[in-house]
Symmetry: C2
Subunit: 254 residues, 2 copies
Amino acid sequence: MCEANAEKTKKRIMLKVSYDGTNYCGWQIQPNGITVEGVLNQKLSELLKEEVSVIGASRTDSGVHALCNVAVFDTCSPIPGEKMSYALNQRLPEDIRIVESKEVSADFHPRHCSSRKTYEYHIVNAPFPNPMKRLYCHFTYLPCDVEAMQRAAQHLIGEHDFKSFCTVGAQVETTVRTITDLQVFRAEDEIIIRVTGTGFLYNMVRIIAGTLLEVGYGRREAGDMPSVIEAKDRQAAGPTAPACGLRLVKYEFD
Amino acid sequence: MCEANAEKTKKRIMLKVSYDGTNYCGWQIQPNGITVEGVLNQKLSELLKEEVSVIGASRTDSGVHALCNVAVFDTCSPIPGEKMSYALNQRLPEDIRIVESKEVSADFHPRHCSSRKTYEYHIVNAPFPNPMKRLYCHFTYLPCDVEAMQRAAQHLIGEHDFKSFCTVGAQVETTVRTITDLQVFRAEDEIIIRVTGTGFLYNMVRIIAGTLLEVGYGRREAGDMPSVIEAKDRQAAGPTAPACGLRLVKYEFD
């Protein structure tokens, strides 16, 4: 609760939030289940002794991880913006860390401004799973043709109607999105799919990962991608790859 | 339980075992607490319908991880050695995986034969911890001079009396050990200490890590290492670094 002349002293704080999504029902507050947003609101309210509701940039799903999701909130607290991270980290559980905090202009809204997000989808591709990566990577022992996956990926770059790559039932005005970069490469025992875009549909990255994996397995041709896009039909794309392999790695605001 | 002519059909199987040590009280069976050895014995006994006791190569501590610990056991089972991994993995929890299994000669004993082990100690060195690495890496935000750590490490390579790097009270015939290689390097947000040797004392790698970190922080000089070794006194070395940062990564038998 701010003082009487609240509006004058109110400021908007931006948080960069890193979390292991394993133990959370995703970002967004749910009636039943612990969420990252819920924990942030609770700990911020305790710290600042006022009711705080953060606005998150990306509502990651249950089990999805983030190195740098973004959230903003308004407060009358005298704590300087850049010190918020330290104060908040002392209260947060170890699987959520604020990696940066700073004051931003009062009209900055992380979902209403132009931005680019980068996601990575990690797949351990080895004869057996690596127990230390089981919570952060999908696993397949099947041989994968990463070059074919990379060729398939090239077809998805650019502005397209990604309706085939959107879970049915999602309510959006348009299913047109722009992917600015999409790379598939091996690193140690992993295949990493790294995709950057200005916006993503519901489950879009996980469906892209599931579809590219089918190309990797040889069940689809890389050259089939244009017709998958053209179909504008979820059935035309591959399965939704599991949540644990997905992580939000970068958020850039213009 | 083997048949009457058991000795004739008995064979020795070697397992390479990968595990996330977070939820285990180490390798070795304990009266109170779940251990990797205990789980392996239980699941192998269920699978093979005979009492099985594995012999482990390295008795890793509580919270320490392994990519390839080694264990052997004797069995009369008709399951071919190389198929044991698949059968056993179906019964094991997800944080333990058998990554290889094969028949070995009946006199192969993983602790009584000449071998080289490689451990890695991982430290996230960044302003804030990475939640996805919190169970697998130590963390420090302090600036670290990795070149100084590497210079200090060079003094530890070779055959030395490592009594200063052994937890007091450990019962061993000699505290002389040989380190064949010891590297310190950065990889992404981590500092990795990789050490190979023919044998290690109790907590030796964690004490080396704790001592090298003090060099990194500037609290000790790299050139002090010879006198730390010479002291043959645990007090002369640095603190024992936390278990979670340690992982056994390679086991080689001559």
